[in-house]
């Protein structure tokens, strides 16, 4: 039966070694992005097909909705835009003022950041990992480490890019950490993913740190990856146990990590780092 080629034991052994070599290369050196990107392109048609029913339902929902609901929606959006425009007026004045003050202090001015809108594909990954698939890739300018936001806060960052799509890791993934600061007093911390859908862990803050339940955590920009000043999470619970060296603090992400459909990719204006 197995007359052609080497025996299956030999082949299995060879493939075993190949797998181990692949894992070592992929984990230690990250030199296999090309191969992964190629394989992603093979997988993409399947992901596209899996996502298709959801696109069709959305489309049908939009096309078949009645004149009346559309009008109501339109009216609601108009009034919301009016409110946002009003807030934007104040913001423009504040921004100009901020710019002037920064110029007085001779510190670098921050320009308006570039933004790209991407859509999430309805595709599941490993349930223990918090990843999402975006429909924009390197030909749209997406790069590895690209910060990902939604309308409410920071969602995560891009980790793999192919020409037509990209994979992002969410801030709740256990392998992710984001540098934050308390908006109230500038206390710096890290927000580490827990693997649970709606919790971040704030480790390594001493028991007497000035942090309270309800505090807003914003990006500090210290990792040189996320733009500074975007909301990340609010502090949820604090347990100060005198027997423990650090307080146990958990926070709830502000971004709608599990049901956002459209997300923003932001080009951060990062400060120049001296070599």
């Amino acid at each position: 039966m197995f007359t052609q080629g080497p025996s299956i034991t030999f082949r299995a052994g060879l493939l075993l070694l190949a797998s181990i070599a692949l894992m070592t290369l992929d984990h230690r050196q990250q030199t296999l992005e090309g191969i992964r990107s190629g394989l992603s392109l093979v997988v993409y048609p399947m992901q596209y097909l899996v996502n298709l029913p959801f696109v069709i339902v959305d489309w049908a929902d939009e096309t078949l909705s009645t004149h009346k609901t559309l009008l109501a929606q339109n009216r609601e959006l108009r009034s919301r835009q009016l409110k946002l425009d009003f807030r934007l007026q104040k913001l423009a004045a504040l921004e100009a003022e901020n710019e002037r003050l920064r110029a007085l202090l001779q510190s670098a001015s921050r320009n308006w950041e570039r933004v790209l809108i991407a859509e999430l594909l309805s595709v599941d990954f490993d349930p223990f990992k918090h990843r999402v698939l975006l429909n924009k890739g390197s030909r749209d300018g997406v790069f590895e480490g690209h910060p990902l936001l939604d309308a409410r806060g920071v969602m995560g960052q891009v980790i793999h890019v192919t020409p037509i799509n990209s994979t992002a890791i969410l801030i709740t993934d256990p392998a992710h950490a984001i540098p934050v600061q308390v908006n109230r007093n500038g206390l710096r911390a890290l927000a580490v993913g827990t693997g649970e859908n709606n919790t971040l862990d704030i480790p390594h803050l001493p028991n007497n740190a000035d942090i309270e339940v309800g505090d807003l955590l914003v990006t500090s920009g210290l990792g040189l990856r996320f733009p500074s000043g975007y909301p990340v999470a609010t502090v949820d619970t604090i347990r100060r146990d005198p027997g423990q060296p650090y307080a146990q603090i958990s926070a709830t992400p502000l971004a709608q990590l599990d049901h956002a459909r459209e997300v923003l990719l932001v080009w951060p204006e990062l400060p120049e780092v001296p070599e």
């Binding site: 197995f2 082949r11 493939l15 894992m23 394989l39 992901q47 490993d126 793999h160 859908n197």
Partner: protein, 160 residues
């Protein structure tokens, strides 16, 4: 020289299994998702050991690595080992009653999950909840249907 036919049917079953692996499920069902690709692989290794073997398992595993966003080679290693064991057992597996087959499938899947959690542990990202092991058991429960469906597919399209 034996004439093979129906390669596209085998590929299609693998593609369907991979798509089932990606279909979004509600939160409570995420941990119950059966290991579709491994089940399809076990079936073809058992039914057509001269066509589907460790090589196919390895390639399917590599694609699964990309689908799961895992380190490249993790599922490739696990699936080629599962294929290897199925190949060595295939004559016995064929004559077992379905329930006994399902038990062997459970063992093979537990082995696969053990290898995967082992590799994840090496990389420092091992999941610590017992829910991790559920897919093996849901796959075992689904195996009889899986077997009958794939057998019908194989006979219908005369895959050999």
């Amino acid at each position: 020289m034996v004439h093979h036919q129906g390669g596209w049917v085998i590929s299609l079953t693998f593609i369907a299994a991979m798509m089932l692996t990606m279909v979004p499920l509600p939160g409570w069902a995420e941990f119950l998702r059966p290991e579709w690709v491994t089940m399809v692989l076990i079936y073809w290794c058992m039914a057509l050991p001269q066509r589907v073997g460790v090589g196919v398992g390895w390639v399917a595993g590599l694609l699964l690595d990309v689908i799961h966003g895992a380190v490249l080679g993790q599922y490739a290693l696990a699936l080629s080992l599962v294929a290897y064991i199925t190949l060595t057992l295939h004559q016995r597996l064929r004559i077992y009653p379905l329930a006994q087959q399902a038990l062997i499938v459970l063992l093979l899947l537990l082995l696969q999950q053990l290898l995967v959690i082992w590799i994840k542990g090496f990389l420092g990202q091992s999941p610590d909840s017992l829910q991790y092991w559920l897919p093996s058991f849901t796959s075992m429960l689904l195996w009889p249907w899986m077997f009958l469906i794939l057998r019908d597919v194989r006979r219908n399209f005369r895959v050999s």
